[in-house]
């Protein structure tokens, strides 16, 4: 939370910080999200949002289906040219401060759709804060993206960032070894 000074006098004490740092700290743990789910990545978003992976642990629990009440726009899935005005309108209706996450390859760059119908990445329409590559991304990648966004919020950084791939884990054995 920025620079925090703790002053302890006897049994009670108080802490001082900057107001914008306090505000950023409050914002990054109370993200109200608008899930704009249009395609198969939506399934992965449900998985992240529900109990097994549980995005609520990161302070991004409450989905809001009114853009007026949301401050984080998840664009989950392919955006076609016909949907572009809708997405733009949703983004314009959100109140500041607002952040955008491009969830999955299609939202990030159009994915394997390179044709007359698909918008090649939602950054052609609206500014994006975090790109999460993957088709669909693993829940871990989504959490990496969310944590990256929270870091951005606390730094006040608006530069677009891409979630880096995780290190390859040791290859795990798929089958049980045959008994000798």
């Amino acid at each position: 939370m920025g620079e925090v000074k703790v002053l302890q006098t006897g049994e009670s004490g108080f802490a001082t910080t900057r107001f914008d740092a306090l505000l950023a700290w409050a914002r990054k743990y109370s993200l109200f999200q608008y899930p704009f789910a249009t395609a198969c990545c939506g399934m992965e978003f449900f998985s992240v949002a529900s109990s097994r992976y549980d995005i609520a642990r990161f302070g991004a629990e409450a989905p809001r289906f009114s853009p007026r009440q949301a401050d984080l726009l998840w664009v989950v899935g392919t955006i076609v040219q016909r949907q572009a005005p809708i997405l733009k309108r949703i983004y314009d209706q959100m109140t500041d401060p607002k952040w955008v996450i491009a969830f999955g390859t299609c939202a990030s760059c159009g994915g394997f759709y390179d044709n007359y119908t698909t918008v090649p990445g939602i950054d052609k329409l609206i500014p994006v804060d975090i790109y999460i590559p993957g088709c669909p991304p693993r829940p871990e990648a989504v959490f990496d993206g969310l944590i990256l966004l929270q870091e951005k919020i606390s730094n006040g950084n608006r530069e677009p960032l891409v979630v880096p791939p995780r290190e390859l884990p040791q290859l795990t054995q798929l089958r049980k070894k045959e008994p000798a």
């Binding site: 040219q81 016909r82 760059c109 390179d114 119908t117 052609k124 500014p127």
Partner: protein, 224 residues
């Protein structure tokens, strides 16, 4: 499988069935556009055919057939739930030629005909509401025609001008997406460019990996 439908059609219509083919159990009958609705109504109502399940209506574009033959094949696939057989009816249409709607025969056909109109620009006479169904009204041209440019997009919302847009770094570089649509097909047909996709070209040593390619070559601007 549906040979008896073809036999029935040939018995009933004779020379008006222009051609019949059968490939591994897929029976096809080709008719003239003028006979389109009549043949369709026959296969639906005839007790031996009873094609009561409309499956799909679609089209295919063969511009290389012109000018000897019309370029479009209009295809309707129907099935009989009673006799458990299916048949495909085709008719050949030139650009701008119209054909009567199958809506009165199978009501569901009017949806498929809107899609055919949307994608190929084939117009159906007597259709109650022939509008675009998947694309937007502002769209110019018909995208599944072979002469529609493969890289032509028609954005409804003008694209933003942003330094990042258009010069994204990996993992959103040239190896992602559908690279075979960005092949120079003219050169490939002349035998000059055998590249299938950037990833395969990488394996075959025809192209350097992104990590070895300088920012200048990829057109991406890497900011330190």
């Amino acid at each position: 499988m549906s040979q008896r439908v073809l036999t029935r059609l040939r018995d009933e219509f004779g020379d008006r069935i222009l051609e019949t083919t059968d490939f591994r159990g897929d029976e096809v009958a080709i008719v003239a556009p003028a006979d389109w609705v009549e043949v369709a109504a026959f296969v639906k109502r005839d007790p031996e055919c009873m094609m009561n399940h409309f499956t799909d209506i679609t089209a295919a574009d063969y511009p290389e057939r012109e000018p000897e033959q019309p370029r479009f094949d209009l295809v309707v696939c129907v099935r009989s739930m009673l006799h458990r057989h299916r048949i495909r009816l085709k008719t050949r249409l030139a650009d701008g030629e119209t054909v009567a709607t199958l809506g009165p025969v199978w009501a569901g056909a009017s949806w498929g005909e809107r899609e055919v109109y949307d994608m190929f620009g084939i117009t159906f006479e007597g259709h109650p509401d022939l509008r675009r169904i998947l694309l937007y009204e502002e769209f110019v041209g018909y995208p599944l025609r072979k002469d529609y440019p493969i890289d032509r997009t028609q954005p409804l919302v003008p694209y933003r001008e942003d330094g990042l847009v258009g010069s994204k770094l990996p993992p959103f570089g040239q190896d992602e997406g559908q690279p075979w649509t960005r092949i120079n097909w003219q050169a490939r047909l002349r035998g000059e460019d055998q590249q299938v996709s950037p990833a395969i070209a990488l394996q075959q040593g025809q192209r350097k990996a992104l990590s070895e390619t300088s920012a200048h070559e990829t057109g991406a601007e890497i900011e330190e």
